[in-house]
């Protein structure tokens, strides 16, 4: 039961004023600018854009500042802002094959055409704290080399040419949109991918990890991981043609997984797919593994009862804003709810003790 309770406004106002002071922290330390967050905490900004499901680095940086670095709170702010935006339309599907790659690696083919490009990666670092960063440092300088203008074809295209992997035929269906219609089951792959792309990185990572440990195992290889800039185009009705409306940084992961086949069809590798805003490769790889696990039905695999195969479990628990909204609401006042529980438990205890007393009397007589 919910009843309106008044009072507490002064306490709330003062709590928010103190929050603002705490956010700023020790005034003898220089204030962090939104631009500093955008540029120097870029991977936090990327996560907020990916899970906030809105590509706008300045807004994500502002949200991180306002949330005092609590990324889920920042994602909440972005999601709330997103709902105020009128929808101007949908882009043409981006061409990730034409990505201007900062990073592009394949774990399946050493000599991939276009090469193994490591990009600005944490891989192969020793994970030792670098105390030089705590001191005033010199301006770091990356090495450069004469760039090779050759294209970077998709790794899966090679397997595809020989029919060794399931094709991914182009289609032009209008995909369902869970920001317009509530997510309902059964969810087709387009809807699942949208939910995973905005899902919590930790949750999607754990689900993916569970498949690797044997709960719905599907033997993934990272066929290709690429990170870079992609042009976004949209058809403009009043102009009658498509124009470039901007550029986004994306991470794409294609996995090559265990094969399926039948008496009539020769065995083929299968695919998992991950695509995320920003440089967010842990999330993109996780997304690809979970996408693959959720495809068990269309690929004719057995339901092993693994959590990662359960679309309802995965999709209804992946969203950290839904999850934290429901979880955190229980800390808000529930006085009346609790009062009725208190009365109930007192009544049951009184009845139980009366019955016990009666039984004791009987035994004494």
């Amino acid at each position: 039961m919910y009843v309106a309770v008044k009072g507490g406004e002064r306490a709330i106002d003062n709590a928010h004023a103190w929050l603002a002071e705490e956010r700023r922290g020790d005034p003898s330390v220089a204030e962090l600018s939104v631009a500093q967050i955008r540029v120097q905490l870029a991977l936090a900004v990327n996560r907020v854009m990916a899970e906030g499901s809105l590509y706008d680095p300045d807004l994500a940086a502002l949200a991180i500042k306002q949330a005092r670095g609590d990324l889920i709170e920042a994602i909440f702010l972005i999601r709330a802002y997103r709902t105020t935006l009128p929808r101007l339309g949908a882009s043409r599907p981006v061409d990730t094959g034409a990505m201007r790659c900062d990073r592009r690696i394949s774990a399946t083919f050493k000599d991939a055409p276009g090469g193994q490009v490591l990009g600005p990666t944490f891989d192969y670092t020793h994970r030792l704290l670098d105390f030089k960063l705590a001191a005033e440092g010199e301006l770091p300088q990356a090495e450069t080399a004469q760039a090779d203008p050759a294209p970077m074809p998709r790794i899966t295209d090679y397997l595809n040419r020989d029919g060794l992997i399931q094709p991914e035929p182009a289609a032009e269906d209008t995909p369902p949109d869970l920001t317009r219609e509530p997510l309902e089951l059964p969810a087709n792959r387009a809807l699942r991918l949208q939910a995973l792309a905005r899902g919590d990185e930790g949750f999607v990572l754990s689900m993916a990890y569970s498949t690797q440990r044997g709960y719905g195992r599907n033997h993934p290889f990272v066929g290709e991981l690429r990170v870079g800039a992609v042009t976004v185009e949209m058809d403009i009705p009043e102009l009658g043609f498509a124009v470039e409306i901007g550029e986004v940084e994306l991470t794409e992961c294609e996995t090559v997984n265990q094969f399926v086949g039948s008496k009539t069809e020769p065995p083929q590798f299968t695919r998992g797919y991950g695509l995320t805003f920003g440089h967010t490769e842990r999330k993109a790889i996780s997304m690809a593994l979970v996408d693959r696990a959720l495809r068990w039905q269309e690929l004719g695999e057995d339901d092993t009862g693994a959590p990662a195969q359960d679309a309802e479990f995965v999709l209804y628990h992946a969203d950290n804003i839904q999850a934290s909204g429901f979880l955190e609401h229980i800390k808000l006042p529930h006085y009346v709810d609790f009062q009725s529980e208190l009365e109930l438990i007192r009544k049951i205890r009184a009845e139980a003790s009366a019955a016990q007393a009666a039984a004791d009397r009987e035994a004494a007589e």
Partner: protein, 138 residues
């Protein structure tokens, strides 16, 4: 329009100032409006489309007093930049087109090519050159 949509607002404004063109008289066909565009991807990069997430876009449309229409769809939330982009788009249909192409669009294109080349050069330096260790036996 692609150049204008991605150009940094301060760079666009600075280049405009170098042209010495006064803001022409115009009226709005659609006042600047910020909204979201749903960015789509394809399954497996080549398959059926799905909704990835939105991006912020600001659009406007205007008509110059002398007649030409200008449209702008620019990334982000900067209404002043959208207005500038739409004015440039409209003026590209007038006798100012050559000035704009030379003094504004070409430098913007060069900036973007330079930025892309600078990232590509850094990426190239991180390309792995595999070699096989020679083993002892023949």
């Amino acid at each position: 329009m692609g150049l204008l949509s991605r150009a940094p607002a301060d760079r666009l404004e600075a280049l405009w100032k170098t042209l010495g063109i006064d803001d022409p008289a115009f009226h709005w066909l659609r006042a600047p409006e910020t909204g979201g565009v749903m960015v789509r991807g394809r399954m497996g990069g080549t398959g059926a489309p799905f909704n990835l997430g939105e991006m912020t876009v600001t659009r406007c449309a205007l008509r110059l007093k002398q007649g030409a229409d200008g449209h702008a769809y620019v990334q982000g939330r900067d209404k002043a930049k959208a207005r500038r982009a739409a004015l440039v788009d409209a003026l590209m249909q007038t006798d100012r087109a050559d000035d704009l192409r030379r003094g504004l669009l070409a430098p913007l294109a060069q900036d973007m090519a330079d930025a892309a080349a600078s990232r590509a050069a850094r990426a190239e330096a991180t390309k792995v050159a595999f070699f096989t260790m020679v083993r002892g036996e023949d």
